[in-house]
């Protein structure tokens, strides 16, 4: 079982790995690097490919953190998996909209909405 410091991972029982974030503000460069490595390891080491990133409780994230999400998305796609995002506060969602990352990621309002969407 892998140990993560920047994220927690829970299996929802139907094959979806629900990822939550330890930091309220994802801004420190070192933490972002570690976060990227931990998220990537979910796919490359733990072989998870149905991943839900739940951002409830996250108040701020820099574009460097956004870049880690994009890299994770690429890895999930390469593993023929699916990545979804939920729980974004309005200000962070605005950043996804401005950068048009709302076209790249499947954004859902709640964890329940997102898990249901994995079953579609």
């Amino acid at each position: 079982m892998s140990t993560h410091r920047r994220i927690s991972v829970i299996d929802d029982g139907s094959g979806v790995s629900v990822v939550r974030f330890v930091d309220k503000k994802i801004v420190d460069s070192g933490s972002i690097e570690q976060l990227g490595e931990e998220m990537n390891s979910l796919v490359t080491v733990e072989k998870r490919n149905m991943i839900l990133l739940n951002f409830e409780g996250v108040e701020f994230m820099s574009s460097a953190a956004l870049n880690k999400l994009i890299s994770l998305n690429t890895k999930v796609k390469a593993a023929a998996g699916r990545l979804k995002i939920c729980g974004l506060r309005a200000e962070i969602k605005e950043v996804f909209t401005i950068t048009r990352l709302d076209r790249v990621f499947d954004l859902r309002k709640t964890e329940a909405d997102a898990i249901a969407a994995f079953k579609l």
Binding site: V27, D28, S29, I70, E91, R103
Partner: protein
């Protein structure tokens, strides 16, 4: 910390992310004390974070012998932020649009766009090693539960 609803910061800082983040923290505290709140605070933090990290990592290339000049001016209605590094600058007029189809899923190139979109104004000097951003306080909007 601000007095009389005005606060100013003008320092040449070590080229160090922790030092830069401490300055941003001071700015955010000053903004709160001057009555700024909500989405404006988020947008300002996002933009200034991009500018400071760009200056330290890309402008000064993490060189500890270089400095970053930071000026913040905060009033209840307007914040001005100037960040200047000692690097060679960049061609800010020809930054690729990260929302183009072939770039939108690439993990880079969003910082400059976010500064321009989130601020009322974001202007580079000729050589591109100094950015000045202005944010005017938004008019209050009713809270929305829309996701």
């Amino acid at each position: 910390m601000p007095t009389s609803q005005h606060w100013q910061f003008d320092q040449h800082l070590a080229n160090d992310l922790d030092v830069g983040h401490a300055a941003i923290e001071d700015l955010m505290n000053a903004l709160s004390l001057c009555g700024w709140e909500g989405a404006d605070l988020f947008r300002i933090q996002m933009a200034v974070e991009e500018a400071v990290v760009n200056a330290i990592e890309h402008g000064n290339k993490r060189d500890p012998s270089k400095l970053v000049h930071i000026v913040f001016q905060v009033t209840p209605e307007k914040v001005t932020m100037m960040i200047q590094d000692e690097g060679e600058g960049f061609d800010h007029r020809n930054v690729a649009d990260p929302t183009e189809d072939e770039l939108v899923d690439k993990p880079r190139g969003r910082g400059v766009m976010l500064m321009r979109e989130l601020m009322s104004e974001a202007i580079y000097n000729e050589s591109g090693n100094q950015v000045t951003m202005v944010k005017l306080r938004s008019k209050p909007e009713p809270e929305s539960s829309e996701s």
